[in-house]
């Protein structure tokens, strides 16, 4: 196993995303963003043991864009977003699309290389070289070869190869789960009762965390545990706790597998 990331099925976030989007080619128009985002986050959770930090970052970056797209879709017509932010999202989406297309292109090109190699691999080249009648004519093969060179080659051969994955088990990959966010909200909301969304997410630094918390809120809304109000399309979103079961007793639709 190479020490760079090699997940059982997916080589990177584009690979995964492409798979999720194109797997149901029979009925492309039925593929919903929601399903894709959920599957993506779920796969991410499954993969986390195999991810190193660098790769996890790539996966998360795309998860963030996806979640943002999903969040946008969940609230059709919501236009209390600043134009700048809106444009930024579209830019991210277009960038993601372009990268997906490029990735898909090279994936298919790789398939062509594979077929070429397979075909060429059915023939073996003649490598026998000149027979002994010509041996005397060959130039001095040892010209310039020193004992030190032989030692260097031997040493290089004996050096351990960096082929194996080095231990990364001590690394805790970044985790963002809707379930955790739900738990946090169940802990926090009963204490505050009513709070605006911006205050609720005020101390969160990462956009992704805010998105996840938003999804968690929608989850609670669906289960009738909170009420969401918005006076007008540009107004602040207000969250009210409606009371309910003790923390932990809530079934959260699995976002993370």
């Amino acid at each position: 196993m190479p020490y760079t990331v090699s997940t059982p099925v997916f080589e990177g976030p584009f690979d995964l995303l492409l798979h999720l989007i194109t797997r149901e080619q029979v009925d492309l128009w039925e593929v919903s963003l929601s399903d894709i985002v959920d599957s993506y986050v779920a796969s991410l959770e499954q993969l986390r043991a195999a991810l190193d930090l660098e790769v996890a970052t790539e996966f998360l970056l795309i998860a963030a864009v996806l979640l943002e797209l999903k969040a946008r879709r969940l609230l059709p017509g919501r236009d209390d977003v600043e134009l700048e932010e809106e444009l930024a999202l579209w830019e991210e989406r277009d960038l993601l699309l372009a990268r997906l297309l490029e990735c898909k292109t090279f994936k298919d090109a790789a398939g062509a290389l594979h077929r070429l190699m397979d075909a060429a691999g059915r023939s073996w080249p003649r490598l026998a070289g000149a027979d002994e009648r010509y041996a005397g004519l060959m130039p001095d093969l040892l010209e310039g070869v020193t004992a030190a060179q032989l030692r260097d080659h031997m040493q290089a051969l004996l050096a351990p190869k960096p082929g194996n994955r080095l231990l990364l088990d001590h690394v805790a990959p970044v985790r963002i789960s809707v379930r955790d966010a739900v738990d946090e909200l169940i802990d926090e909301l009963p204490r505050v009762g009513r709070i605006s969304f911006s205050r609720l997410t005020g101390e969160l630094g990462e956009r992704l965390e805010i998105i996840v918390r938003f999804l968690a809120l929608l989850e609670l809304y669906k289960q009738g545990l909170v009420d969401l109000e918005q006076a007008s399309s540009f107004a602040e979103l207000q969250v009210s706790w409606l009371g309910g079961p003790a923390p932990g007793a809530i079934e959260v639709e699995e976002y993370q597998g």
């Binding site: 990331v5 593929v31 963003l33 879709r73 059709p76 090279f106 075909a119 023939s123 003649r126």
Partner: protein, 199 residues
């Protein structure tokens, strides 16, 4: 009576252990490279007509003898180990990027694949399929990778330009649409029976 030049080409290619460039043959045989190409084509055709178990092919810029592909089952029994270990999907993808975009840096490869490609690059380099071809003249002076003649041999190609054009692999409209549609933000399309976001 076959011409001496024709026979000399056969004799030389038979003792070569790398593909022999037509220019070298031309020089040794004191004919033009174009004439060498003609004669090699003639030889290739005559082996084909005679239904020989070997072929003369042009690969990686030169001519070589190789076993006929349809006899692979027999040759495999003789050549104990497979010619090459199979490349992983990741390695093939990286190889495709390098083959089409060369010279190309690690960072460019990683950005196309969305994952770090260092391990795969090292594997491909160890297999002799790619090499450090140049350095980026820009500030970082990043190493740029390119493909090797060995890769051409493994692909059975004469020149890298013989690769099928990349445009051929650009996703068709269905895929484009699927991608675009799937990543549609906002609820604009949802009204007209498109996908419905569900929680």
């Amino acid at each position: 009576m076959a011409s001496e030049t024709l026979r000399a080409i056969e004799a030389i290619v038979m003792v070569a252990d790398v593909p022999v460039e037509p220019h070298l043959l031309a020089q040794l045989l004191e004919v033009s490279p174009a004439r060498v190409e003609e004669l090699c084509a003639e030889l290739e055709a005559s082996y084909r007509d005679d239904d020989r178990g070997f072929t003369l092919v042009r690969v990686a810029g030169g001519y070589r003898y190789q076993s006929h592909g349809d006899l692979a089952a027999y040759v495999e029994r003789f050549v104990l180990e497979g010619q090459t270990a199979r490349l992983s999907a990741a390695a093939l993808e990286t190889l495709a990027i390098i083959a089409y975009k060369q010279p190309v840096s690690r960072a460019q490869i990683a950005s196309i694949r969305g994952v770090n490609a260092d391990g795969v690059i090292r594997t491909l380099q160890a297999r002799g399929f790619i090499t450090e071809a140049a350095r980026d003249p820009g500030p970082g002076q990043a190493l740029l990778y390119g493909t090797t003649p060995l890769l051409l041999e493994r692909l059975g190609l004469d020149r890298i330009e013989e690769l099928p054009p990349l445009a051929q692999f650009v996703p068709g409209p269905e895929i484009m649409d699927a991608l675009e549609h799937s990543l549609q933000a906002g609820g604009v399309d949802d009204e007209d029976g498109g996908s419905r976001p569900t929680l």
